[in-house]
């Protein structure tokens, strides 16, 4: 849980029906109730016909409680849990394109990428694309480092998360 001026960041994990319109009704609920989504990711889960949706939101405990209740109220949302950061693995992936007109820059970028355990996934004459994975702080740090080199484009996936150990947000 990261403390910010606006409040804590909470991670809400939901198991939802994997069908058209569900993401719309979920995101529409957030808009309608004035809850701000920081990041939202959605993809297949381990269960057939169900998807896992991970939302990070900033706010206080009362607001997050209400988010959970409003989510649970949606017919296509099967299960909702707030993930406790102490017992949760969170990951985000970013693709970062850096302009590398001189070779010094190029080798510096490659060095930093190795330190951050990233991968160079595209090489052109004048640019590199680096894939970097980790928690959001690590990605923020990498992006800060790249800024002086000529950062051209960033694409971030948003946070996805799973609880550690045998605790699960599965639909039984």
């Amino acid at each position: 849980m990261v403390m910010t001026r606006e409040g804590k960041t909470y991670i809400v994990s939901a198991i939802v029906e994997h069908k058209p319109g569900v993401l719309y009704s979920v995101s529409n609920m957030f808009r309608r109730r004035g809850f701000n989504i920081e990041t939202i990711t959605v993809g297949a889960s381990e269960q057939k016909d169900l998807a896992r949706l991970t939302v990070t939101i900033k706010g206080d405990e009362r607001m997050v409680e209400q988010v959970v209740k409003q989510l649970q109220k949606l017919i296509d949302v099967v299960k909702v849990s707030i993930l406790d950061p102490e017992f949760t693995v969170t990951r985000e992936l970013a693709l970062v394109k850096i302009s590398t007109l001189d070779t010094k820059v190029r080798s510096d970028v490659i060095n930093y990428t190795e330190i951050f355990k990233g991968h160079v996934v595209d090489v052109a004459h004048d640019s590199l694309v680096v894939e970097i994975t980790g928690d959001s702080d690590k990605i923020n740090a990498f992006i800060e480092l790249m800024k002086p080199f000529g950062l051209k484009e960033i694409a971030r996936t948003g946070i996805t998360a799973l609880s550690r150990g045998m605790k699960s947000a599965r639909m039984e």
């Binding site: 029906e17 719309y24 609920m29 409680e65 209740k69 017919i75 296509d76 639909m171």
Partner: protein
């Protein structure tokens, strides 16, 4: 229509038929007796099946009225109301009615046609994304993908609409799913992993509630629409009597307790009774059942019953803690929760006298009664007189604005489901089509719409429906030739700068009624008014009674917007 029956592995029967036929069969299995609707291009296959069906279809004159009529039918009967419209404008015209049903938790299922599947997303003629439009104002909605799934989706829709906290569900049928022929299986199963309406109260929470109620010196109950929905009036009264706890209702809860009962405080809120608004803030323990603590009932919410311990019973978990943080939250059906509280109290509760507390309530009631002691053509007086000649089971619907608040204040309600009003959305034009739906549901009781001239004109075209389908109701138009509630606010809060409120004594409501083949009566005194109502109730045709009143009339008592609930203005 041809049928080809074959037995499946499980022995259930599959029948070859069109999607439209499957829809109507599914409605019959849901025991639907009446559909309020208007046909159009995208629902022609359904209407072709309806032609041979014994389900009654009432042709409305505007889709908004179809949805309101279904809503009125649902509220009067407790059954699911059904409405139907074509694609595009037919569908969007339903939207106000669906939103209204959503805000007031009324179970309706709305059917819309849409363009054929191949045209969806192509902006074809009369295409609209009605599923997208209605997502935030339905409990859930569906677009049919093929004829085969119609039966299951209809079952699901009726189940969702009528269980938990009831509400509207919409089913959108692309035209070619209506004509598609397939093997249709009618099983009554539904599949909903994400929907489990939690109805049993948690015993530990009941225990906590009972402890608070037992210790209470000045317990007060607030009853909302949830008490009516769950049919919990008896349980409510039993708990109230045992505790000697007075009961205030919200607008939606009007009728959950008979308003002539000594423990009834009447309605709470912005236009609540003096009794309710004075007594509720004095509570030390507040038991709120089936209410969402709307801004119109609490006034300034941060100040509302600040020192009271609050027990909040609601079937919708998302309402518990949303506006007010209760000390004891109970997510449960109102009837089951009240029964559990009663059963637990019966064992241990020592009846208290509370004579000082009761005396205090009687004093407030006297003050409230003085508000009714007016005479002549004033709405409080007229409505008190009206109540005296109406049977207790007469159904009142209202429009929205002054007419609605006068009705809520001065027309005492004695039974659940006999006061039907647009509470949450505040839809002018709701009362008249809702009265038609209520009359269809309860043909043997008088149904009266208390209207204003501004509201009635918004849906008066359905006088045609009422006359041609022989649905006689009485419309009482409190005619001040202005948008009365707006005028009242401009008078009170905008320095009498009357902006866009003058309706110019148009139309002549007597001649308007007559133009539709209805009966029109204009009255000039309270005696004439009562005579006209008596005549209307005997009539087999709808009657519009034009009641000229002063445009300067305000609704009092009133709590100014944003003020604490006991800051009551009485004139």
């Amino acid at each position: 229509m041809y049928f080809l029956t074959m037995a499946t592995k499980e022995g259930s029967k599959m029948v070859k038929m069109t999607g439209a036929k499957a829809l109507i069969e599914s409605l019959k299995r849901q025991k639907v007796e009446v559909i309020f609707g208007i046909p159009g291009g995208a629902v022609l296959p359904i209407y072709d099946v309806l032609y041979d069906s014994d389900i009654k279809h009432i042709l409305m004159r505007h889709e908004q009225c179809a949805a309101h009529a279904a809503d009125g039918y649902a509220r009067a009967s407790g059954k699911v109301g059904v409405c139907m419209a074509t694609s595009g404008p037919g569908a969007t015209n339903l939207v106000t009615g669906i939103a209204n049903a959503y805000m007031d938790s009324s179970p309706i299922v709305a059917f819309t046609g849409n363009v054929p599947r191949a045209f969806i997303g192509k902006d074809a003629f009369q295409e609209t994304d009605i599923v997208g439009v209605t997502t935030p104002i339905t409990k859930c909605n569906f677009q049919i993908k093929n004829a085969k799934e119609i039966s299951k989706i209809v079952n699901t829709a009726f189940y969702v609409a009528s269980t938990g906290r009831p509400g509207p569900v919409l089913i959108d049928l692309p035209k070619d799913t209506q004509t598609e022929v397939d093997d249709i299986e009618f099983d009554d199963g539904i599949s909903l992993r994400g929907y489990k309406p939690n109805i049993e109260p948690h015993p530990l929470q009941i225990e906590k509630a009972v402890k608070l109620l037992t210790q209470a010196e000045r317990p007060v109950i607030i009853a909302g629409g949830g008490v009516i929905t769950s049919g919990a009036s008896q349980e409510l009264l039993a708990v109230a009597k045992m505790l000697v706890a007075p009961v205030a209702t919200t607008l939606m809860g009007k009728g959950s307790v008979a308003e002539n009962h000594p423990l009834s405080l009447g309605m709470l809120g912005m236009h609540g009774t003096i009794t309710a608004n004075k007594i509720v803030p004095e509570a030390d323990v507040l038991l709120a059942v089936g209410t969402r603590f709307s801004d119109r009932s609490t006034g300034k919410v941060e100040m509302f019953c600040r020192d009271a311990k609050i027990i909040h019973v609601d079937i919708d978990a998302a309402e518990v803690g949303k506006n007010i943080r209760p000390h004891v939250p109970i997510v449960a059906d109102a009837k089951l929760a009240l029964k559990a509280i009663y059963d637990r109290l019966v064992k241990s509760f020592n009846k208290k006298e509370r004579s000082l507390w009761m005396q205090r309530i009687q004093e407030q009631k006297k003050q409230q009664a003085e508000m009714e002691n007016k005479d002549g053509m004033t709405p409080p007086h007229l409505l008190v007189e009206l109540r005296n000649i109406l049977p207790h089971d007469a159904i009142i619907t209202t429009e929205v604005g002054q007419n609605q608040m006068w009705s809520a204040l001065y027309l005492k309600t004695y039974k659940p489901r006999t006061f039907i009003s647009s509470g949450g959305l505040g839809t002018m034009g709701f009362g008249f089509p809702a009265s038609l739906g209520a009359k269809v549901a309860c043909p043997d009781v008088p149904v009266l719409d208390i209207a204003g001239d501004g509201s009635f004109i918004m849906t008066e075209q359905d006088l045609a429906t009422s006359v041609s389908w022989n649905i006689p109701v009485t419309v009482i138009v409190m005619n001040n030739s202005v948008l009365g509630m707006v005028a009242q606010w401009q008078r009170m809060f905008y320095n009498r700068r009357y902006s866009a409120i003058d309706l110019g004594k148009i139309p002549d409501f007597v001649r308007l009624a007559e133009a539709y083949g209805a009966q029109g009566i204009r009255v000039g005194s309270s005696e004439e008014f009562i005579d006209a109502v008596k005549k209307a109730m005997k009539s087999d045709v709808t009657t519009v009674i034009d009641v000229p009143i002063s445009p300067e009339q305000n609704v009092f008592p009133m709590v100014p917007p944003g003020a604490e609930i006991d800051k009551i203005m009485i004139g």
